[in-house]
Symmetry: C2
Subunit: 329 residues, 2 copies
C-alpha cells in the first residue's frame, strides 16, 4: 500500500500523518501518478491550519505539486499515457487531489511534461512558481523591458521565479528581504537590487533606484500594512499584484495614493490562469521554453524524505528557505 | 471689474467671498472666458476645506467647470478664437485656474465646444461627469452590453452620467441610494434597478439581480468600509473603480475576496484621461457624439446666482441634489 500524507485535524505541522492507504484507481478524466518528488507551497501550510481559501474535509490529503510517472489513466483522460514523465500544475482542489504521498490521482488537464534537462526534484518546482509569476507579470501585466518590478518576499520560490521572469524580459528586478542575511543570495539569483527592509526605507529606496519614477509593477504575497508602503513605492499607473495573504493584520487600502497615481491593486491567484484554457496553454508554453533555454531555472533550497514531511513544513514556516523546499519519495 | 470667487482661509462654505478683481489677460497657451454658467463639483468643496488632492495657496480661486464665450486668446493658444462658445474640461490645477467668477483664464487645451442643442447651463454640466465615467467604463473598462455595472452615489452628476453611459452601451445599470426618496428619480433617470442601501442588503441584492454573477464593474466615489461590501457584490474578475474619497473612514482592502475572485481595485481620476492626449480626444468625441444624439443628457438639479455661491456649496454638502448644481452668471 502506498504511503500517503493526511491530516485528521487542522493545526501545526504535527497533524501531518504518514499513512498506508490502499492504491486507488483514477476516475473519469483523471490520471494516477507514481510520485518521485513533491514541491512544497505556503498554501499547504495555510490549508493544514484551516486558514486557506479552501477548507479541508477531514481526514484530508493535501499538496499541489508533484513530479512523477503516470501509472494509470482513467476513462476520458486524453493526451496522457502510462509512462509519461510529468509534473502537476496546481489547478485543482487541494483537498480532493492532494499529491503528498507515494501515489496521487489528479485531473489529466493538470499534468504537463517538463524539459528533459530537469531532474524530478526540479520538475516539481516549476509550475506554481513560474505560472503564478507569468500570469501576473506577463499575461496580465504585459511587462516591458523599460519597467521596474518590485518583488517582496523575494526569497520564496514564487518571488525568485518573478525575478527570473523580470530579468528574462529585460526589466529591472528590485527584490526585498527583511534581514541582510539573504541579500547576497538574492543578488546571485538575479535581482538587480535588493532592499533590506529592516535597514532601508522601502518606498524611498525604490524611488531612488528608479530615478524618481517608482515601480511599475509590484508583486506581493504579504498584504497587511505593507500595502500602503508599496503604494508609496509605486509609479504613476502602476499595478500592485496581491497574490497571497501572509500578513495576519488587516490590509488598509491606500486610497489617496491610488487616486493620485491611478494605481491598480489586483487580487490574483494562479487559478485565474489555470481556469482559462488559452492562458493556461500560453503559460505552459512560456515556462517550458524558458526552462529549456535556461532563462528560467528553479532554485531548490533543500530536500526532505517523505517521512520527514512535518519537519519540511516546520522548515517552511521558519522562513529560512531560499527557494523551493522539495520532498523526495 | 469682474466678480471673482475666492477664499482666504480653508473651511466651511462661509469662507467663499465674492470679490471685485481686475480683469487679467491670458498668458502663453491660455484663453480668457466670459463665464455664463459654472458647474459645481464635490472636488471644490474638498479643495475649499483643504481636504483635496491639491492644496490651495491662499487667497485662492477655485472651480473646474464653466461654460462661456472666449473673449481673449493668449500667445501660442492654438485652435481657439474669440467668440467661441465653449466649456472647460477639468484638466488643470484647480487653484491656479479656478473658474468661479464672471471671468476665468484657463489653458487653451482644456476648452471644448459643446453641441448647439445644449444651453450654457447644460454645457457646463458635461465634461467632469461624462469624461470621468467614460474614462473608467469605456476607455479602461471596455464595457460590453453583457456587463452589469454597480453605481454608488448614483444621484450625483457623475453617478447619473455613469448610468447613462452604461445604458448607452446596452449594459445593466444598478444604482444605489441611501434612502428611498431618490429611488423613483434614479429609475426615471435610466437605472435598470435601484438598491436602497438603508433597507436592502447591497451585495445580496446585486447578486440576485445579476443571476448570481455579481457586478462586472463597480463605480464608486465613496471608499471607506463600503469597499468590502462592494467586493462582495463583485463578479469574478470584476473591476472596482474608486474615483473619490467621500468616506471619512479608513478603507480596508478586501484581500480575501480579491484573491478568491481576482478583483481589480483601481484608483481613478479624470486627470488620467486629461493627461493622455489620445484618450482625451477619444473622450471628447465620445461625449460630444452622445450629447448630440441624445444618448447622453445632463440632468440639472438646480441653479443658483453667483452671489449665492456659499448657499450653492451648502446645498451640495446637504446631499439633497439629484444631478448637477449650476451657478448662473
Amino acid at each position: 500500500m502506498p504511503k500517503i500524507i493526511r491530516f485528521h485535524e487542522t493545526g501545526g505541522a504535527d497533524v501531518l500523518r504518514v499513512e498506508d492507504l490502499p492504491l486507488t484507481e483514477p476516475g473519469e478524466g483523471e490520471v494516477r501518478l507514481k510520485v518521485e518528488a513533491i514541491g512544497l507551497n505556503r498554501a499547504e501550510v495555510m490549508f493544514r491550519e484551516g486558514q486557506y481559501l479552501e477548507s479541508p474535509e477531514l481526514p484530508s490529503r493535501l499538496g499541489y505539486e508533484a513530479s512523477g510517472i503516470i501509472d494509470a489513466v482513467g476513462p476520458g483522460a486524453h493526451g496522457v499515457h502510462i509512462g509519461d514523465r510529468i509534473s502537476t500544475v496546481p489547478s485543482f482542489a487541494i483537498g480532493k487531489y492532494g499529491v503528498y504521498g507515494e501515489s496521487a490521482i489528479v485531473p489529466a488537464y493538470a499534468v504537463a511534461s517538463y524539459p528533459e534537462n530537469l531532474s524530478a526534484v526540479e520538475g516539481t518546482a516549476i509550475w506554481m512558481q513560474y505560472m503564478t509569476a507569468f500570469g501576473a507579470l506577463i499575461d496580465f501585466g504585459r511587462l516591458k523591458k523599460e519597467d521596474a518590478v518590485l518583488i517582496t518576499a523575494a526569497s520564496s520560490s514564487v518571488g525568485l521565479a518573478a525575478s527570473q521572469i523580470t530579468k528574462a524580459t529585460g526589466a529591472l528586478a528590485i527584490a526585498t528581504t527583511r534581514g541582510g542575511d539573504k541579500k547576497q543570495f538574492l543578488l546571485d539569483a538575479g535581482a538587480d537590487h535588493v532592499i533590506v527592509t529592516d535597514e532601508q526605507d522601502l518606498a524611498e529606496t525604490v524611488v531612488t533606484l528608479t530615478s524618481g519614477n517608482g515601480a511599475n509593477f509590484i508583486f506581493d504575497p504579504v498584504g497587511g500594512p505593507l500595502l500602503e508602503k508599496l503604494a508609496d513605492a509605486a509609479a504613476t499607473g502602476a499595478t500592485i499584484f496581491e497574490y497571497g495573504a501572509l500578513s495576519s493584520e488587516p490590509t488598509p487600502f491606500p486610497l489617496f495614493s491610488s487616486l493620485a497615481k491611478g494605481l491598480t491593486v489586483r487580487g490574483y491567484t494562479l487559478l485565474e490562469i489555470a481556469r482559462d484554457p488559452e492562458a493556461f496553454v500560453r503559460g505552459k508554453s512560456y515556462v517550458y521554453d524558458g526552462l529549456q533555454s535556461g532563462a528560467l531555472k528553479p532554485i531548490i533550497d533543500r530536500t526532505f524524505p517523505l517521512e520527514a514531511i512535518a519537519d519540511a513544513h516546520r522548515y517552511m514556516e521558519s522562513n529560512q528557505q531560499k527557494g523551493k523546499i522539495v520532498v523526495t519519495v
